[in-house]
């Protein structure tokens, strides 16, 4: 790892490799779930310590305990050998433990600067907030991190990536010695990931350490020095990264071997099921046109903010389109509301499952049947038994980890929540399914299951649009790939010709196109 920069890190007084933070025999029980059972974890200075495990293995729970968000039921936590208690997140921060949580914790109505320095505002006259100084401080911090975000902008107006960067900036503003990152790259694309890695590199010093949680194995290989594996709330192993290959890690995580997948033969079809012409939205999308053939998977690749989600949302009527035409099965249709889309047999699985996918306080059954209520209604009355059966069926098919179909979604881990969203759309039996980041936050084992499922669906004649920021996934799954950049489709690639390089080329074409248009216009 690179040496720290000249930034305001705490003065290095120790040596790399000393024990910094320890969890010793920590347990945590939630109603219905034993999330952690006698787990030990040791973090040493100077290391990037990867924490891996399947969905629901307990990674986030462990980190929430180490950052004062949750209280553990058993075991103890030590910082530099001394036993500590962390009753609140503040106490953790004061001891130098900063976290970037899997979920964002930002105050939408406040500005970037106000978010970063909340609770630490510079004052004049002892009690008046000095906003000018605050903005200056934030600007300096953001510049130092190499991110160009206006400190005066309201957070609600930022992109997901920019929000993630604000979270990171905030965590780093504490000059902490421990930085915990829970899937920080889930919302980032490759270039942004590079920025993040550089930031992590700058942070590391002989007195600091990073805990890094991710489902992306390449990142773990690239970044980490130590790897700890959790499985079902139990500690499995801690090993130097150099001693592990990716298949080793996966085997430790899932306790079984994953068949390395082979892309099935491209499916040939000439029957367009969905045609989108000249789709535009204000202000981003311009003239997006594509055709989805029956039985194919059309991948959508692009950098963060390229407009893929926006395309999907406009297409299903979740956001208004300013222009464009949608043709389903040969006949033009008017879609102004998601209900219209579903009526036309188009379902959309959102990238943000908590906001757009799930009813968190309802149970697995209610969520599974949500899009198919009329099918469970007889004479106006809902049939509870039938709904439960169906939910149970999908739990088994998708191997969703839940105590029962009566469990509230809130209590499932991220990945298992994602499976329930999948079940909802599979149950609705749409002809066209738009999957937006279907494997975001899903562990490798479950990922493979979802891939198999997508294949099976296309075999059954369903057509799929798959939006994904994981290049490998797009390459592996798609018959054809549409690449977007800056609100336009910059090219289509056939499965046979597509490579990471070609996708990247198309995905970064926006400056060229932008220049072209300005020339045309002038």
């Amino acid at each position: 790892m690179t040496a720290p920069g000249t930034e305001a890190e705490p003065a290095p007084t120790g040596r790399a490799g000393e024990i910094l933070l320890e969890a010793d025999g920590v347990s945590k029980v939630f109603p219905g779930v034993r999330a952690l059972n006698d787990v030990s974890f040791t973090l040493r200075t100077g290391e990037v310590h990867a924490l891996v495990g399947e969905n629901g293995a307990g990674k986030s729970t462990l980190m929430k305990i180490l950052s004062g968000l949750y209280q553990h039921d058993g075991g103890e936590i030590r910082l530099r050998g001394e036993r500590i208690v962390l009753p609140t997140p503040l106490s953790a921060q004061q001891m130098g433990i900063s976290v970037i949580h899997q979920e964002f914790f930002l105050m939408n109505h406040l500005t970037v600067a106000q978010n970063i320095f909340i609770g630490r505002e510079p004052k004049t006259m002892g009690f008046l907030n000095d906003d000018a100084a605050l903005n200056r401080q934030a600007e300096e911090l953001l510049d130092r991190l190499g991110v160009n975000i206006d400190p005066r902008a309201r957070v609600s107006t930022l992109t997901v990536a920019a929000q993630q960067m604000v979270e990171i900036a905030k965590a780093l503003s504490f000059n902490s010695s421990v930085l915990i990152m829970d899937e920080p790259t889930a919302a980032l694309t490759e270039t942004e990931v590079e920025t993040l890695f550089r930031i992590i590199g700058n942070f590391l010093s002989p007195t600091t350490a990073v805990v890094y949680i991710s489902h992306r194995m390449e990142e773990i290989r690239k970044l980490s020095t130590q790897v700890t594996v959790l499985r079902d709330g139990e500690f499995v192993a801690t090993k130097p990264a150099s001693e592990l290959t990716i298949p080793d890690i996966i085997q430790l995580m899932v306790g079984r071997k994953i068949a390395s997948d082979i892309r099935p033969e491209p499916r040939a079809s000439t029957e367009p099921i969905l045609e989108v012409k000249h789709l535009s939205t204000a202000p981003l999308l311009k003239d997006v046109s594509f055709t989805l053939e029956k039985g194919e998977i059309l991948g959508f690749a692009g950098l963060m903010g390229a407009g893929r989600t926006e395309t999907a949302r406009a297409l299903i009527g979740a956001d208004p389109m300013t222009d464009g035409e949608v043709i389903v099965g040969g006949k033009p249709v008017k879609i102004t509301h998601p209900a219209d889309a579903v009526a036309e047999g188009i379902g959309y699985l959102s990238e943000d499952r908590k906001r757009y996918g799930l009813i968190l306080n309802q149970d697995v059954t209610a969520n599974t049947v949500l899009a198919s209520i009329p099918a469970f209604t007889k004479g106006g009355i809902l049939q509870d038994g039938k709904m439960k059966q169906v939910a149970q069926k999908w739990v088994e098919v998708l191997r969703t980890r839940t105590p029962s179909v009566n469990q509230r979604i809130r209590n499932l881990s991220g990945g298992n929540q994602q499976k329930v969203v999948l079940a909802k759309w599979l149950e609705r039996d749409c002809d066209v399914l738009i999957f937006d980041e279907p494997t975001r936050g899903i562990d490798v084992g479950a990922k493979q299951e979802i891939y198999d499922l997508l294949d099976k669906l296309t075999d059954e004649g369903k057509s799929i649009i798959m939006i994904s920021s994981e290049m490998e996934e797009v390459l592996r799954m798609s018959d054809r790939i549409a690449v977007m950049c800056n609100g336009r489709i910059t090219g289509f690639l056939d499965n046979s010709e597509a490579t990471q390089e070609k996708i990247m080329e198309l995905a970064t074409q926006f400056s060229v196109i932008e220049d072209n248009t300005s020339e045309v216009q002038s």
């Binding site: 029980v29 109603p31 219905g32 779930v33 034993r34 629901g56 499985r231 079902d232 709330g233 306790g255 299903i316 979740a318 509301h337 998601p338 209900a339 889309a341 579903v342 009526a343 379902g347 959309y348 959102s350 906001r355 757009y356 996918g357 799930l358 009813i359 968190l360 306080n361 309802q362 149970d363 209610a366 949500l370 899009a371 209520i373 009329p374 209604t377 106006g380 009355i381 809902l382 191997r399 980890r401 839940t402 105590p403 029962s404 009566n406 469990q407 509230r408 909802k424 609705r428």
Partner: protein, 336 residues
């Protein structure tokens, strides 16, 4: 696979009560509070427990009960409706003006009843459209509509009470006794509660209302026309407001334009005592009725005991706090 099954097994066997039983416990609590109150008042004044008193007490709960039933649908969607109180005033005056012999149009009784219900549904429709399509915050939209109702009732009644005493049989709607010793109003409340219970728990209306109250965006993206269902919830609430208008004017044999101010607060309190969460996504029809009865039990019991009005309000406030506190404790001090 084994590991997974293990989690599942442990999960099931763990301490803590499964969610689906919690609702029953909550309702059990509410009923318990009510029973304690009844025992207390009976001990203080044995007279309290006479059927005559109980049946008048129940009759007195009908208006708040009906309003709380309707309100449950709106609250389920995460909204609120402040119009039941003065909406009752304006709908009852409207219905009364249609049928009153003096100062009215003298139309047949059923026209007045339908008029009252229709006015309620229309009020709900306007509330619903403002909330769902104009995207106003429910509290504000219905606060404004409450003011409109208030003025509207006075304007319609031209400042007077509209007497319905001369309408043969109008008072029987609420106070008549199809079943001996049971006022029709009470019967109507029970029937409405059963209907509301089925609609809330066993039909798409309730299912979607609760889904919208939990996560509107997710419900919408699931292909459900959330706006339409939301409007429907407000229309149902308005319809129940209209029904309460009929029942109130029947009980009093008159429609009074100023009667209703603050009544929405009782309806809200009834729903809350019954375990409905104002955060949306949760509703208890049974609880709403019990809540309304609890409120009247407090008022009636204290009156029977000769306690002054001012204290009755203090006690009601305390009981609301207690009911909510118990509910919160039951859920382990956490929000849903």
């Amino acid at each position: 696979m084994t590991a997974m099954q293990d989690t599942a097994v442990t999960g099931r066997a763990r301490r803590g009560i499964p969610d689906r039983y919690k609702a029953f416990i909550q309702q059990g609590m509410v009923v318990l509070v009510l029973i304690v109150l009844v025992i207390f008042f009976t001990a203080m004044k044995p007279n309290f427990a006479s059927w005559g008193n109980i049946s008048s007490l129940l009759l007195a709960s009908v208006v708040t009960g009906v309003q709380a039933l309707g309100l449950s649908f709106v609250i389920a969607t995460g909204g609120i409706d402040l119009t039941p109180g003065l909406g009752m005033a304006v709908t009852s005056v409207f219905g009364a003006v249609l049928i009153a012999q003096q100062g009215g149009f003298g139309l047949p009784m059923w026209v007045g009843i339908l008029g009252c219900l229709a006015a309620g549904a229309l009020l709900g429709l306007i509330n619903g459209l403002l909330v769902a399509y104009v995207k106003m915050q429910p509290m504000i939209a219905t606060l404004a509509m409450m003011m409109v109702c208030w003025g509207g009732a006075l304007v319609l009644a031209d400042g007077r009470t509209v007497s319905l005493r001369s309408i043969e049989g109008y008072d029987q709607i609420a106070v008549g006794q199809l079943i001996p010793q049971v006022p029709n109003g009470v019967l109507i409340l029970i029937v409405l509660a059963v209907i509301a219970g089925v609609v809330m728990n066993k039909t798409a209306v309730g299912r979607y209302a609760l889904a919208i109250g939990s996560n509107e965006e997710a419900t919408r993206i699931s292909g459900i026309n959330t706006n339409r269902w939301k409007v429907l919830a407000y229309v149902i609430c308005g319809l129940f407001t209209g029904i309460s208008g009929v029942l109130m004017s029947s009980r009093l044999s008159a429609a009074q334009p100023t009667l209703g101010q603050g009544y929405e607060m009782y309806a809200i309190a009834a729903a809350v005592i019954g375990g409905t969460s104002l955060r949306g996504g949760r509703a208890s029809i049974f609880g709403a009725v019990i809540g309304a009865v609890t409120i009247q039990t407090i008022f009636n019991g204290l009156t029977v005991m000769g306690v002054q009005d001012q204290w009755q309000k203090v006690v009601l406030g305390a009981v609301v706090l207690l009911a909510v506190y118990v509910d919160i404790m039951r859920r382990g001090g956490k929000e849903e």
